[in-house]
Symmetry: C2
Subunit: 688 residues, 2 copies
Amino acid sequence: MNRAAFLSTAVALAAALLASTATHADEGMWTYDNFPTAKVKQQYGANLDGAWLDRVREASVRLSGCSASFVSPEGLILTNHHCITACLSENSSKEKSLLDDGFVARNRGEEIPCRTQVADVLVGMENVTDKVEAATRGLDERAANEARKRAITGLEQACEKTTGLKCQGVALYNGGQQFLYRYKRYTDVRLVFAPETGIAAFGGDPDNFQFPRWCLDMGLLRAYENGKPVTVARPLRINFDGPKAGELVLVSGHPGSTDRLLTVDQLLALRNDELPPSLLRSNELRGRYIEFAKKGDAERRITADTLFGLENGIKVRRKQLDALLDEGMMDDKRAKEAELRARVAADPSFAGFGDPWADIAAANARARDIDTELGYLEGGAGFQSRLFRVARTLVRGAEERTKPNGERLREFTDAQLPRVQQQLAAATPVYPEVERLTMSFGFERMREWLGPDHAVVRKLLAKDSPDSLAASLIDGSKLADPAVRMALWNGGAAAIAASDDPMIKLAREIDGPARALRKRYEDEVQAPTAAAEEKIARARFKVYGTEVYPDATFTLRLNYGTVQGWVEKGSPVEPFTRLGRAFERATGQPPFSVPASWERARGKLDLSTPFNLSSNNDIIGGNSGSPLLNARGEVVGLIFDGNIHSISGSFWFDTVKNRAVAVHPAIMREALRKVYDAPALLKELGDR
Amino acid sequence: MNRAAFLSTAVALAAALLASTATHADEGMWTYDNFPTAKVKQQYGANLDGAWLDRVREASVRLSGCSASFVSPEGLILTNHHCITACLSENSSKEKSLLDDGFVARNRGEEIPCRTQVADVLVGMENVTDKVEAATRGLDERAANEARKRAITGLEQACEKTTGLKCQGVALYNGGQQFLYRYKRYTDVRLVFAPETGIAAFGGDPDNFQFPRWCLDMGLLRAYENGKPVTVARPLRINFDGPKAGELVLVSGHPGSTDRLLTVDQLLALRNDELPPSLLRSNELRGRYIEFAKKGDAERRITADTLFGLENGIKVRRKQLDALLDEGMMDDKRAKEAELRARVAADPSFAGFGDPWADIAAANARARDIDTELGYLEGGAGFQSRLFRVARTLVRGAEERTKPNGERLREFTDAQLPRVQQQLAAATPVYPEVERLTMSFGFERMREWLGPDHAVVRKLLAKDSPDSLAASLIDGSKLADPAVRMALWNGGAAAIAASDDPMIKLAREIDGPARALRKRYEDEVQAPTAAAEEKIARARFKVYGTEVYPDATFTLRLNYGTVQGWVEKGSPVEPFTRLGRAFERATGQPPFSVPASWERARGKLDLSTPFNLSSNNDIIGGNSGSPLLNARGEVVGLIFDGNIHSISGSFWFDTVKNRAVAVHPAIMREALRKVYDAPALLKELGDR
């Protein structure tokens, strides 16, 4: 071959290698319409055909922030304990905590409504890329951003009207593809079973994201319709024997968010501008909660769930920061980006393409000017209070509902309103002492980061300290009462204007500056970024083809891998743990104290029962509660965590060390049988 | 010229440019023996000759972590309020706080001893580079590290014996030069005047490192000898009118630590490995303190000083991290390092020089393996308790004092022992509830970062929680009593071995693993790093000459600049603030509440009195309390802070935005005269 041809082949090979490093063996969060069935068949001999995929998809459930699955014909939903803590909290009080004590419904009548929980099942996916592109064609970035939002809202609305289903626009490949997903939504979900937090989260924060591990992180809900348990035609079957080491296993669930397609400048913005301040803030809040919780049992109870979530988030972002500080990883990202940019530059068909990477960098530079203010006034950093969030929802809801659907803020479109109302109406307890803590904290940091002479800060704190302002707002507000909230919601703009609730007044006062910042951010940062990301996504398709998977977007994905451990600092980590070691590690003090129910049952328990297991499935936050399936589609585990190396999965998949962590079904059976004495439940779950 | 010659000239020019960028106009923390007198004369017309330098040096005072100056013939020492908070704290109680209330001694008899304060005046500097090099010649890195420490200890000892002065080895230019500094030490230092924290630190943490600013951050001590005030032959004179904008001003003081000569790998280690975990830890502790302090006035009082220091440190390290995340700055460091390495590689006289940059990188890689464990077991992260530090001092002191002076841990050499004893004997109050807070925090984080299955963690927390362990240690220990401490100190190894104080037992148990880690760190990280830094320092001398200044080492330095503001986001910041605006910014709530004494005096005060000022002097932490001098050597300000941009001064001097912040002498006079009614003090300070 001649030299020129040789060179271009070499470039193609290099490109193929680069492309293939983007989809390592067993890597990938595949959409169900693009699952690599042939590759899995070739590699593992398993035939996951269309029927298999349909059956698993229909039993896969999405909860708020989590995944789950139908595991009985009468609507039992298997998920993680840590996915139902909101339900446990809202059914707890200062005196009695379902988190501490666990819960077993002995019959249907004892099942407790989870007032803010919904359960969604994906029943259809439509590619609407052409329709959305048609709506934005020829428009500039800002107009396109608005038109895109309007087009998607319109599609959702039309879909819901014709199908009666929950319809949701989904941008895949950073906007390279637009889909309309249709969900069957269950709004009556009840609590059936939860173990004590002591065993569900044995080891607490110290063990979180660690393996070996011993957590019975499971919970059971039941979906109801019209007051009756729903009938599930094809639930998943649990195989209580679990998988073998090396066995093919699949995870069907809703990974929340990955950033594997971000540009280098976006990764640097995360590393430099977003993660450090957010981590610092969270760590201080963690300290405040911990000290507050030491005041007594009641204080510990009413903050336990929030603290758990906070510490989890801290660990995730801390390891994300570590990953982004890794120069090798960043150099790899730089090389890949340079390669794609070089390919684009060398290809005449990209004439007039512009430089979307530079566009993103410019947008990020603008973001740096407003990020902090936006975070404090519009994001959650400044007004850290549930009552304030209620007040803002009421104030904005009153205004937005007077507008045509397509022109509203996204969270107040017709499709969102039922959920907004459900949450306003739910009698979730509000603890004023916790509200004071968080709100004072938010004000104090707002003053630190925006400065005492910032106009909003001066207005708020002219004659108040963060503490005194928080106290007067929380103590003066009546918004903890759902009836008051609903009266204001139903009263609309007139009721809001007439209200002298201090929290409503605050939300009204702050709304102008906050909305202005949000608009500026959407116009100057989001719109050009979305346009540039779409361009890059199109370029990536064109150069590398479609054999890639999109970043996680909290939509249903399926991935495959095998049960396996890894090598940590030279020592192999086995993929299974067993019950006996949990008792050995118990200290008698939280978070390493085994609950009394387990101590009582200890003599009866088989200490060799497998407890948790690890596999190399490619998962991320949001996959919590996902069923781990064998090739026959049986549940052989319940995903609840990843190891510490899994956190870098936000940015790339580390095949050597990234591992998923699941509850083994054998420990579920052992616990339901011998600790919780729940034979009816076990029978419903198919145990013989 | 021919092409080769042209090229080499170009390289030399580039090198000269690079070298000159290392010493920008007005940049530099100069040692008194290398002050650029000629350059200052040329630039500003001021003649700072040897006599001028001697006079200022003799009046410059070093305190613990701070700077100060003699300002009266009878031993009055002017420094910052925030430099004497330890003295104010140790003379406070839960009921009454000198921090809250301030203090004025109306006569000598009312002056209060600061039991742990010493004051040093630099009286001589000897270059001992040759002597130290002779002691290490031909030895490998570890042996050289030991020999160097022994040689320095020996020099210090001989010096103290012959002179009766306090002698201290000082490594300048990262070990490129070794000096022996001789200090006159005053160990009887008493409190004369302190304003209320409300005005000394007006604006608190939100205003810290900000300018414009309104802080009367001043305090007065007096040095005593043999029960009488010391006589100071040539004290500095205060010029209460202060400086003019643009006027030449100099700072004589003890900048603590800069890292401007670190290699790129060292900067990355700081950025990736050191700053993030330390910041996260500090922020959580901050949250714990803040929540604890809300319990009541007593809790607020006993934590106020510590919280202030903690928040100061957080702000510093946060901005250091920001500086190190700046890709432009890092690229500049990379370019400079590459240039020096290229020069070394191209110069045959460097044959056999090796690659000290690679040696440092290798040492840092080893450090990463032990950093976390070292920090928790030997550093301050794991055992956060004053009583534990006392216990460790007693346990180690008993062992070390049995060894020859040259073989001891550095902190137990004969030169250090008087100070160690002074601190053990001081009846500084210990608050058990604060000790429990910090110690529990340390244990909890130790378990998180070392893991619950780490041998030490398992041993400590096998049947305890961090809270229960901390409580039993603190409640069971008698080490809060100085008499108990001194009995154990004087009893030596036998007393330590016989003690059943739980804190002593803990310190004994932990000593083996902690010492082993320290030894490993010294051998595997410190020794090769010291050797490599020395090599690089020698190379830098050889290539760029000696017209550079060494990194700050908490030794006396003089720098020059002018009174000036800067431009912040397009708006000019004026270099002077005035009293009136402080009252306008007051909210009535800490940290923005003006003390009652000022509110009472308000009508009498001249609201146009200059309050604080900014200048472009090159300072850093440790310079707090330094006199700001005019060309005549008069005090025209009192350095107490830098602006937010000054924090990047750790790594480079930003001539455009880095500014020092000082108290204006006019506000000192106004306050002493009209608020504190202290005419005798004012008279002693030379006011007419």
